[in-house]
Every structure is written in C-alpha cells, then in structure tokens.
Amino acid sequence: MVQKVRKKVTFFTVLGLILLGISLLAPYIVKNDPYETNAFYMKAVPNLQFPFGTDKLGRCIFSRVLVGARMSIFPSLLLVLITMAAGILLGMLAGYYGGVLDQIIMRLVDIILAFPQMVLAIAVAGVLGGSMINAMIALGLTGWTLFARLARGQVMALKHEEFIHAARLSGNSNLRIMFVHILPNIAGEMIVNASIQIGSTMIGIAGLSYLGLGVQVPEAEWGSMINEAKGYMQQAPWAVLAPGIALFITVVIFNLLGDALSEYIGIRSTNDE
C-alpha cells in the first residue's frame, strides 16, 4: 500500500516537474514565434505547421499555449510558496507567543476570511489595475490565512511537548526552537496543504486573466487567450479549446499530486504511531 502510494507521488511529482520544465523552457523549444502575426494564416485549421491552428491574428496557438504555460504555471507555484511561507511564519508566531500577538494575527485572519475570496481578489486586482503581479497580490491577500491557521493550531499542540521543554532548558532561543525544533514537525502537513492549493490558485490566476485583470495583451496566458478567442469561437473553436484543455490538464495533474501527497502523509502518520 505504502509502496503504491509512494509510486503515485513520484509519478505526479515527475509530471508536475515536466510541466514546470516545459513552461520555463517553452520560449526556446517552440518552432513558431508565439507573437508573430501572419495575415496569410488567420484562423487556420490545425495543420502540420500549426499543430493547434492559428488565432485571429495568425499567431501559432501551439507556441502560444506552450509559452503561456510559463505565465500560468510558474506564478501559481510561486504564489503558493510565498503564501505558505508567510502563513507559516505568522501562524507560528501567533501559536508560539500567544497573547496579544496571537489576538492581532488571528483577528486579521478572521476579517480577511469574512470576505468571499474571489470577490476580494477581483476587487483588489481591479483597483490595482491589470498585471500579473497585481493578480498575485490579490490572490495572496487571502491565501496565507489557511496556512496561518493550520500552523498556529499545530504549534499550539506541539509547544507543550517534552522535546520543546528540553530544547528550552538546554538554552535554545525562542527563534531557534521555532525554526529548528517546531518547523520540521509541521512542514510535512504544510507542504501537503500547499500542493492541494496549487490547482485552485491556477484557476484563480487564469480567472483573473480571463477578466482582463491578469497579464495584458499580447502576452500569452491561458485565461486571457480564452478571453481573446471567445469572440470568434464560431470560426476557430481550437483557439479556445487549446488553452482550455491545457489549463484543465495542468490543474488535474496538480490536483492528483495533491491527493497523492495527502494520502501519502496520511499513511505515514498512521504508520508512525
């Protein structure tokens, strides 16, 4: 059982890494220039030269989907990492020190969670103006709260354990206890939760881009490509389908990775006891 789950984790991790690799290397491996317009090949049906066809400006959709992967995958992973780091830090501080600091941080979490997440993200991205950084800020504003709550709960449970008392008695500083003795114990669960968040973050970023609140034209990104192409879907459905399917498959792969990781951690913790 453990073997099987471990295989699953490895498989989806490798798939995820391949996707990430493609997204980073895309500009160097595509045959056609994703930004080159071509008046002779407007809305061309998929063919040998243009595997996914072309859009209304004659740009190669295959190249745009591959190059768009960078703008769709990389920011999501980065955002999840940043919100995880920020959330863990604030959650650990709240849980470890308690008192006023805990009150301030947790009330802030309560207030942010009182906004419907996507409404706040759309509003913040809309007010800040469309750019990928602003879209990431808008989603990150709510993203860290999950990790902060989880980390706080875990730290509060751990801080009365004997090994923490022992660490304190042997003269470790609070910071050292937090980062050297507590963090490794909660890291596993945090990483699993982060992996579960990747898919929905990707959908969030693509959604903001679709609304015109993420990357700006002519930059290739899956959400904005779908938005651009939906106007002439009747003549060139491939211009919507290609980025749509790419987004769907990527989200599925990262969701499966999240599922596999949580299963793995679940099995490991029951085996430990």
Binding site: P116, M118, V119, G126, V127, I203, G244
Partner: protein
C-alpha cells in the same frame, strides 16, 4: 443558547469594523489622488480649481481616520456614496442589480442541490461500485474546470452549435438556464462529495446496524434515519457556496451579460468607478458574514452539543 448568540454578535463587531476599514482603504491602495480619479472617471479635464473643489466636496482634505468614520457612519445608514461616473447613488445601483443576482444565484443553488442530493446519496449507497467510481471521476473533472471555461464552452455548444439558447441573457427566464448551470456545476462536484461523505458516515453508524438487526428494510432505514441525520450537514453546504456564488457571479454575469451586481462590478472596474466597487465588496462581505452566522446559529439549534 442566549449566551452563545450574544457572544457571536459581539464577535461580529470587530469583524465589521475590519471589513469596512479594508473596503474603505481599497480606494487608497492605488497611488494617485481620489479626486483626480473621480474627475477622470467623469471625463472632466483636471484643472487646479476643479480639483480643489472636488477635494472639498469629497472631504479629502480631512484626516484619513475622519474620512473613514464619515464613510462608516453613512454606511450604517445605508448610504454607500455616489458613483464617480454618473453621480447616482451606489446603494440604488446595487439594489437594482441585486435582484437579478439573487435570482441567478438562487437558481444555481437550487439546480446544484437537485442534481447533487440524489447523486450524493446514490454514490454513498453504491459505495465502491462502478457508478460510485464513475460519478466521483466526473466530480474530479468538474473540480478542475474553471467556471469561465465552462461558460464559454456552454455558449459554443448550446448557442452556436445546436442553437437552443440565446447568447445574450437579457435577464429573462430563457436566458437564465445557461448562466445558472455554469454557476451550479462547480458547486455540484463539491456538494456530491460532501453529501456522499455525510451519508456514508451515517450508514456506518452503530444505530444503523441496530436498525438492520431489527429487520427494518434498507430503503426504510435510508429515508427515515440516514437522510434525516445527513440533511443536517447539508445546511453547512449553503454557507460555503455563498462565497463561490458571489465571486462566480462576477465572471458568469459578465460573460452572459446578465444585468446583476456581478456585471455591474466588472463594468465599474473597467470604468474605474471606485465607490461602486467598494459598495459591491462590502455588501458581498456582509451577506457572506450574516449567512454564515445564521448557519452557525441553525446548527446550534439543531444540535446543541456543538461548541460550548
């Protein structure tokens, strides 16, 4: 119970203060003078004189906290300020659109419930059989399709390919179906999982074994005991779907031109009409908070063993 309600209501005060403060601050997180933003939204040429006059009118020369308290005071009276674009009351604009958004969200929720309750129960009863795996597979797929992609594909299939629905909704009954379906399907996959888990938990409970041992028929057990207890957990579904519905309405209403607050929000973002954006955010947040409070209270009423 009384003690619990008072406690929950008191906890609401700091949350509402925080919500309103953050919403008010939305106007100030972008660099630039709000008076200039207002004038450019109206398309008026910015001269020093006009600018100073607008600043006076908007109370921008006062300290930030004073401005916030004024805004908050008006908010308590139901006044959300006036639109930058046409000067009309934001509260009026929102209440006009809210009717449509309510119709759309309610239809979507109703649709989601009618699809997912039977399927959720069915998958639980047929646990680990082919149907169970198949429906769970579909749910997994549904979970990975963004709502905007779903809406665009629906338009392509139903409006262009087989031509059974109009592309532009125009707020009538015929136009309601596709936007409601696009909003509902992402909820369905979450609902089915939740309901399946709730029913399974009940089915594995000891009292069910007892009921079986007494010779009750399986359908009788299912409808009398299991559903009765599982339906309690379905209330909580409503709570978390409100947020998804409000956020989704912005996307879906813009795609289908449904004249609700979601479309108003998107139009206001494009027109840089900040008071309307603020109004939409604060009203959504208030609805979200109040609905979740009511759900918690319902829980407490149904099952007083809960917290404290």
């Amino acid at each position: 119970m009384k003690h619990y309600i008072t406690k929950r209501l008191l906890l609401l005060i700091p949350i509402i203060l925080g919500l309103t403060f953050l919403t008010f601050a939305l106007l100030y997180i972008t660099p630039g003078d709000p008076a200039k933003k207002k004038l450019s939204a109206q398309g008026i040429a910015v001269t020093n004189e006009v600018l100073e006059k607008t600043r006076q009118e908007m109370g921008l020369n006062q300290p930030f906290m004073k401005q916030y308290l004024d805004w908050f005071g008006k908010f308590l009276k139901g006044d959300l300020g006036n639109s930058f674009k046409d000067g009309t009351s934001v509260a009026d604009k929102l209440s006009k659109g809210m009717r449509y958004t309510f119709i759309l969200s309610f239809s979507a929720f109703f649709l989601a419930i009618t699809i997912s309750i039977p399927l959720g129960i069915y998958t639980a009863v047929k646990q680990n059989r082919f149907v169970d795996y198949f429906i769970r597979f579909l749910c997994f797929i549904g979970n990975a399709v963004p709502n905007f992609l779903l809406a665009v594909l629906f338009i392509y299939f139903f409006c262009i390919y087989i031509k059974v629905f109009p592309v532009v909704a125009k707020g009538n009954m015929q136009g309601l179906f596709l936007p409601a379906l696009s909003l509902a399907l992402p909820l369905v996959s979450r609902f089915i999982r939740q309901i399946r888990a709730a029913v399974l938990e009940q089915l594995n409970a000891e009292y069910i074994t007892g009921a079986r041992a007494r010779g009750n028929r399986e359908t009788y057990i299912l409808f009398r005991d299991v559903l009765h207890n599982a339906l309690i957990s379905i209330i909580s579904i409503f709570g978390f779907s409100i947020g998804t519905l409000l956020g989704g309405s912005v996307v879906i209403e813009s795609i289908f031109m449904w004249p609700g607050v979601g479309k108003l929000m998107m139009d206001s973002i494009n027109a840089r009409d900040y008071p309307v954006i603020q109004g939409f955010v604060i009203i959504s947040a208030m609805i979200y908070v109040v609905v979740n409070l009511l759900i918690d209270l319902c829980y407490q009423l149904i099952d007083p063993r809960g917290e404290e």
